[in-house]
Amino acid sequence: MTGIWPDIVAHGALIWQDLLQHVEIVFISVAIGCLIAIPMGIWLTRRPRLAEVVITVTGLIQTVPSLALLALVLPVLGVGLVPAVSALALYALLPILRNTYVGVRGVPAGTVECAKAMGMNRMQVLSRVELPLAAPVIVAGVRLSTVYLISWAVLAALIGGGGLGNLILEGLATYDFGLIIAGAVPAALLAIAAGLLLSWLQRALTPVGVRRLAAGERGAA
């Protein structure tokens, strides 16, 4: 072995194609996860008892090993992009759902009361007070889901989802280190980059007043 660069170059076109596909799978799955989990999380804040149940159930789904979940999708939904995305979106739900719920619930009751007392209707309380204050926590959930999904999408290749898993699995099957490197290194870099990007987004979405407040508290502690 003479470093990883030659392997990357040798498989350049293939890597690029699989990388794009990987991003696509993750993006679609996370987007679906957000579309379901964020409204649901908000809705659950109005029903705390139901929320405990729902979050426990999604928590149980989360304990099923990712390989097992993907494998179980196979007999039910068959092979291809749709089964892969379905399984991954299911996985993306929990962190987003839970963080939306906790984030919105975490807005101090006094602050919400005050917003109501000033004459905000429910939508206004949600959009002007609760969501801005919960945004950093919600984005943390999205970030976590994204990073997990980049990892699990590697396995999605097993059920025909495509992506960088193709290269790694093929490399492992044929014992071709070049292919393994060509799949594993971009996958790792993609995950790290996505993590950093969303961390940045999380900071950017933290309201300035709250960010300085948090910084102040940390400074004081």
Binding site: C114, K116, G209
Partner: protein
């Protein structure tokens, strides 16, 4: 039910009336029972009572944060439940003790919450914010873009009050707004609020459990206990004629706390005792005793220092006609200093059966403590300076 729009900020609010208002909860606890209360325009009404007396619940029923379970609450003659709650609240200012300010909004954004909800133009909003900040002596340039946590507690609470004033509502509800502040800041803000109310003529309903605060701010005070109104009157009337023992006890403690208790001899002495010089004749002494209706007088020398005393009894006894007071006076005068403890002086007079104590400072006669001077000082402390 058709829901009217409450436009307290446009039409001018006239009167708020509680008619037999009750609030009970499903578990049977009764927070407020049969409350009758009328608040006129421009009044500063304080609801006061121990915790759990229903004062906050009563306040929150005004803007429908809590719905009454009995009776009705009339705003401008209409039941508040006939107004749309969201519109109603936009027309009523509201200030609470904690947080209150939205941490993710700047000072200006916080103040402008209600004007924004009412769709004011940015221009008008920003002018209003500047005007309000100046009203409490905070420079708009410095403060408008700061965040709540960058301000002191007192400044934050000022912003809380300004936010309630922003859309110019005629009625403002305040729920222990200064409860979390230190005593000095609290007094400062109370003074500012009083001044503010006198300039902007708002009707304010204010909840507190602090009688000092109530006495300082209110035009009228409503004393509540266990959900019931015990007395609703002016501060003076409540102090003078408490409705029952509970009210008396509740205000009494505060009345004593407010009082200037005499601590030292200087506080209880008569500064103009009846005196004569050592050279005066006994005839002059008799005449002065008769005209001032005293039977004892102090004798001082030319420098104003105490020489002794003469009493009518021993002037007669000594048959001192034709002699000067310097010759006949007794010298064993009981003496105290002006900065000695008043209660010690009292005890001494009591135990030694003294009629008076001469107050001497560096040899100079400063005054005299008699039973009469002591009673006057205490009376002034309790009922105020009657003269």
């Amino acid at each position: 039910m058709s829901e009217a729009t409450f436009r307290g900020y446009e039409r001018g609010f006239q009167v708020l009336e509680f008619q037999q208002v009750s609030k009970s909860y499903r578990d049977g606890t009764i927070a407020v029972r049969d409350l009758n209360l009328r608040v006129e325009r421009g009044e500063f009404v304080v609801l006061i009572g121990p915790s759990g007396c229903g004062k906050t619940t009563s306040l929150r029923m005004v803007n429908r944060m809590v719905e009454p379970t009995g009776g009705s609450l009339l705003l401008e003659g209409r039941d508040v439940t006939s107004y749309d709650p969201v519109q109603l609240r936009r027309g009523i200012g509201y200030v609470v003790q904690q947080i209150g300010l939205f941490p993710h909004m700047t000072i200006a954004e916080n103040i402008e919450v209600v004007p924004r909800l009412q769709g004011w133009s940015p221009q008008r909003r920003s002018e209003r914010t500047a005007e309000l900040l100046q009203l409490v002596g905070m420079d708009p340039g410095t403060y408008r873009d700061r965040f709540p946590h960058e301000l002191s507690g007192g400044q934050q609470q000022r912003i809380g009050v300004l936010r309630a004033l922003a859309a110019d509502p005629d009625l403002i509800l305040m729920d222990e707004p200064f409860g979390a502040l230190d005593p000095i800041t609290r007094e400062q803000l109370q003074d500012e609020l009083k001044r503010l109310q006198e300039t902007v003529h708002k009707t304010i309903v204010f909840v507190t459990h602090d009688m000092d605060e109530a006495l300082r701010l209110a035009n009228r005070i409503a004393v509540l206990r266990q959900g019931q109104l015990l007395q609703y009157d002016t501060p003076a009337e409540i102090l003078r004629n408490p409705a029952d023992d509970f009210v008396a006890q509740f205000v009494g403690r505060h009345r004593l706390a407010e009082m200037q208790v005499p601590h030292i001899v200087r506080d209880i002495m008569n500064t103009r005792p009846v005196t004569l010089g050592v050279g005066a004749s006994t005839e002059e002494a008799f005449a002065l005793m008769q005209s001032r209706q005293v039977d004892t007088m102090l004798v001082i020398d030319e420098q104003g220092s105490l020489h002794g005393y003469v009493s009518a009894l021993h002037l007669a006894h000594k048959r001192a006609v034709g002699r000067t007071l310097g010759e006949v006076c007794e010298q064993d005068v009981a003496v105290v200093g002006p900065d000695e403890d008043a209660s010690t002086a009292f005890n001494r007079m009591d135990q030694e059966h003294l009629q008076y104590l001469a107050v001497v400072d560096e040899g100079q006669l400063k005054g005299i403590v008699t039973r009469r001077s002591m009673v006057r000082a205490l009376a002034a402390a309790i009922w105020g300076d009657a003269q």
